[in-house]
């Protein structure tokens, strides 16, 4: 990649993130608004890197209790078990549901980890002014945006089971503390992906290649 083209920002154009209109506000205007829909315009998402780092670090911290603490307590007349996310997956696998075990493993363990690692990579690469494999990186960013929501799967399963399986003393399911941390991880990483501005990566490329 050596010709990233001309950026709207370099020509004084601002694009609206709601209605996509490209406009050229007065350079003296401190808070330009979109002439079509009135949305506050930003050339780049405000404080993108700082906000993304903050949300990402919070997600990393929450990721630890989410995986180590108890996600679900299951009690019947003859048995009682406490499951973390991983032990729940293993239990599913061993009880003859390998397909579902794989789905839960991907949604609850792989996807959150993938999001954390990719966002870290993106933030570090922008900070270092890297132009390395920019097309791969933007594709990774799109995947993160696309798959983030599917991590909510375990939260929904927990809601249904904990509400439904309440048959006196015969069978009960309770949500564990890990569910709070896990829910935070999902929400925080979704916000982190939203505040990250992929245009910053291309700004670095344009700066490097001397086009702007």
């Amino acid at each position: 990649m050596d010709w990233p083209g001309i950026s709207a920002a370099s020509q004084g154009y601002w694009s609206c993130h709601v209605c996509d209109l490209v406009s050229r506000p007065e350079p003296t205007d401190p808070q330009p608004r979109c002439p079509r829909c009135g949305t506050r315009l930003h050339q780049r998402r405000p404080d993108s890197l700082q906000r993304c780092w903050a949300l990402l670090i919070a997600s990393y911290i929450m990721y630890i209790p989410a995986n180590l603490m108890i996600m679900m307590e299951t009690g019947t007349l003859i048995s009682y078990r406490e499951d973390t996310i991983m032990s729940g997956v293993i239990h599913l696998w061993q009880s003859g549901n390998p397909g579902i075990a794989v789905i839960v493993f991907v949604a609850s363990i792989l996807v959150p980890l993938f999001k954390l690692l990719v966002l870290t990579l993106l933030l570090l690469s922008v900070r270092r002014g890297s132009t390395w494999k920019i097309r791969t990186r933007i594709q990774l960013y799109r995947i993160v945006e696309l798959v983030g929501r599917w991590s909510m799967l375990d939260i929904f399963v927990l809601t249904i089971l904990a509400a439904l399986v309440q048959i006196q003393s015969m069978a009960t399911v309770r949500a564990g503390t890990a569910s709070i941390a896990f829910g935070m991880v999902v929400v925080l990483t979704m916000f982190a992906a939203m505040v990250f501005d992929p245009r910053l990566m291309w700004d670095q490329l344009r700066k490097r290649t001397g086009h702007e």
Partner: protein, 209 residues
């Protein structure tokens, strides 16, 4: 129209400055630098989206009014609607989990359908609704948080977990959620915000002339 006169557009993912091109029906314009989808041409988008939104609203009501699954164990049983499930979980002290489920599978889908109907119904009747800009802004902001399709997968995973220990009684809402998921996917692909803005520009220019 000559290429020079066509409106400018900036890629939302790499900020490349481009000029719009004419698209064939169902075509999509992609950024030549980073490959992001810039805009789409969906024929008859407003009519189709309105039909899908109306159908989705009906199935949404059914999906929320009836129990999703019932379980039975040696004569004792339990069945819950989605709202009851959220309520029970709240009472068990799991406020964050209950809140998340409430927002992502009850509140946001309802808000999304309501706002879409508010926009599309007047446009279909040839009028312009009041406050298009704030409504579009709100729609864009809440979009990532509507997770009916993920909730549907959650129901299926729960079913597989439950079927080992209980007799399952599938509820009306189970099927409704399935259909709602499909309708919302079709709606997301047919609804084209660009058409709303173009329509608005056309009406505004009409007034000026």
């Amino acid at each position: 129209m000559r290429a020079q006169e066509r409106p400018l557009i900036a890629c939302p993912q790499c900020d490349l400055l481009l000029r719009e091109i004419e698209l064939p029906p169902n075509g999509a314009a992609c950024c030549c630098c980073c490959g992001a989808t810039l805009y789409r041409n969906r024929p008859d988008s407003i009519n189709r989206s309105l039909a899908l939104a109306l159908a989705a609203a009906m199935f949404y009501c059914v999906a929320n009014a009836f129990p999703i699954i019932g379980i039975n164990l040696q004569g004792s049983g339990n069945a819950v609607t989605l709202l009851q499930a959220v309520h029970d979980l709240w009472n068990q002290g799991m406020h964050l989990v209950a809140g998340l489920t409430f927002i992502t599978s009850i509140l946001v889908p309802a808000l999304e359908l309501g706002l879409l109907l508010y926009l599309l119904l007047p446009l279909y009747l040839g009028k312009v609704p009041v406050g298009v800009s704030p409504v579009m802004r709100l729609l864009q902001a809440i979009k990532p948080w509507g997770m009916v399709e993920v909730f549907m997968l959650g129901i299926l995973v729960s079913l597989v977990k439950l079927v080992q220990d209980f007799r399952i009684i599938p509820g009306v809402a189970l099927w409704s959620f399935g259909i709602l998921t499909l309708l919302l996917a079709a709606l997301a692909s047919s609804f084209n915000p660009r058409d709303i803005w173009l329509q608005l520009d056309k009406d505004r220019d009409g007034v000026i002339d």
